[in-house]
Symmetry: C2
Subunit: 353 residues, 2 copies
């Protein structure tokens, strides 16, 4: 048995003494054709005997559907994206879709290469979590006819479904929280500056400062890379300033964790001597010590909405768009106050004078 080639519908048909079409009808449960129980049973038995496995390639080529979607994210090792991927895959599985995982590594060329492959593989849809900016990959998706949904916040006239996160609001909430606690000098560890998801958080930071009548000190804004090590390095850089901050807002939780380490390396207590706020609310945020104050992204909600939009378009059939109301959804992040932020201590140089 293991020496023979894989059985096909023709083999099954032959063994069951029916035509190939009958086998196909049984496999696909086509309701338009009624097959006598006796015949169906014979076919099923033949399939069993031969260990028949349908060839999804042939089916896809013929039907134009592959039951596969592509997921492009920057980095699956980041717990936030790992969670996103987990939820997406789960919903896909429940609906009979496989997901091809693509990590772009915040690299536009890689992103582009991945989209090429996904399109060549005839995926039924693509979930595109851009590394930021308008890329070649995004252009291809835009020009093509494969349904796709973006998780970016690039609202420049997208002609597709998009789930947007209000990053600016997130940046505002984080900063506002620290201002409310009495912090005056608030550091900022950003993501790679070319990405819109970074600049938007930064806009929120600035807005909160302005609203409170504070000026923005550019030396307090240091770039990170969305990774732990980058957060640590950024915190150490901030602590070398003549007037270091008493609180730091890191643009994601991973960097916030690194910032905590950086503070400790410097001998500072968190939060007593250094408040830290993150962004994402990864599951580990509340397992840290101290637990991490952060801006929560509604991960499962994001995944749910994205898949609803995408599968709506995919299953609606070619050219039938999803209900207009679902095409653009803005999800709000929210502040989750935990133990890593508190009012500045009296001895803290960064405290309100």
């Amino acid at each position: 048995m293991s020496s023979k080639a894989r059985a096909t519908q023709i083999d099954v048909a032959r063994l069951a003494g029916v035509s190939q079409a009958m086998v196909s009808y049984v496999v696909n449960g086509n309701g338009a054709v009624k097959i006598p129980d006796e015949t169906r049973k014979r076919i099923l038995e033949a399939m069993q005997t031969l260990g028949y496995v349908p060839n999804a390639l042939a089916r896809g080529l013929r039907s134009g559907r592959t039951k596969t979607i592509g997921l492009v994210i920057p980095d699956n090792a980041n717990p936030f994206f790992a969670e996103v991927a987990r939820f997406i895959e789960n919903i896909g599985f429940e609906n009979g879709f496989s997901v091809i995982l693509c990590n772009s590594d915040y690299d536009l060329d890689k992103e582009n290469a991945h989209v090429d492959v996904l399109l060549a593989k005839q995926v039924d849809g693509v979930i595109f979590c851009s590394s930021g900016g308008t890329s070649e990959a995004q252009q291809k998706l835009r020009d093509g006819k494969t349904p796709w949904v973006t998780l970016d916040h690039d609202i420049s006239g997208l002609q597709t479904g998009s789930v947007l996160i209000d990053y600016e609001l997130g940046g505002y909430l984080a900063t506002r929280h620290l201002l409310d606690l009495g912090h005056d000098r608030i550091g900022c560890i950003t993501g790679p500056t070319q990405f819109s998801s970074s600049t938007e958080r930064l806009d929120g930071y600035r807005q909160a400062l302005h609203e409170a009548g504070r000026s923005v000190d550019p030396t307090l804004i240091v770039p990170g890379d969305f990774r732990i090590r980058g957060g640590e390095a950024a915190m150490l850089a901030l602590l070398k300033l003549d007037h270091p901050p008493s609180a730091v807002f890191a643009f994601n939780d991973l960097m916030a964790i690194g910032a905590m380490q950086g503070a400790r390396i410097h001998g500072l207590q968190v939060p007593a001597e250094m408040s830290i706020v993150g962004f994402d609310d990864i599951p580990l945020a509340e397992a840290l010590h101290p637990t991490l104050t952060t801006i929560a992204q509604p991960i499962s909600e994001i995944a749910r909405v994205v898949m609803m939009i995408l599968l709506g378009q995919v299953q609606g059939g070619a050219g039938v768009p999803a209900p207009k109301a679902f095409n653009r959804v803005v999800l709000k992040p929210s502040l989750v106050v935990r133990a890593s932020s508190c009012a500045p201590g009296p001895s803290n140089p960064g405290a309100t004078g």
Copy 2:
């Protein structure tokens, strides 16, 4: 352009004034056929003009290769598996392979369903990180002719490539470390007990205890679920014992993190009043506070070896097995001592008398 159907090789051939075969040769760079530069250029231009994208389904159907592999893991939201997936995908990308991500959720039925789909989709290979035990899915893989590599430690005569982790050694090292520190009562938070990766760690635990002339107290062994919450609950259960442990070995880092929380909920200091050792060495282990002592699995090495074996079989062509030497690789975990473990305090009831 967006209203037309996707261009095919026939369209390109027509526009370039050549036969379809020529287009195919250009696309695949078949060295056996020499195409004049002028002709090649015309074809390339026509492809550009029409926005030609090869149909990987047709190619796969014809050639028998899909340049796609399947990855079955229990849970991508677990940082350990997220890392594994990340490395696998990366190596796949470098070699021109896409990866279909499948989460089994420690559920044998789901595992089985995923393998069915992967086989139907004609993947070139499967990486199978079993949830444990001999499952239907594993049987199908064994019977089929699709190359596959297992990450399990089920050595019961596997006729396939396998990368094994010496979990027993890991369990031994963790326990031995705690014994060496002077702990007498060492708790154990296991994984789901039906899985061999759990029982093997437990064997190591027992062995270390026996070797030190200690008996195994079954009340100190509590089951976990490989998740943070489960670790916390297990720790709380351990602390309710009449004779609670002074140290705990959790079977993965996620549960170790939960155990830390559980200890804190109970008002215990880690490590002064409760030592904790994990397993995996996820990137966050050294970012925790205190940093986590754990048994490190060589994640990147695991991914590298798995892919080397799998791609060797895939690219070696049907029926040509990889070099025998690569077919079974046992990787050793190692102890990484950090700050979450120390000698028991004098006031600690679990300390050596």
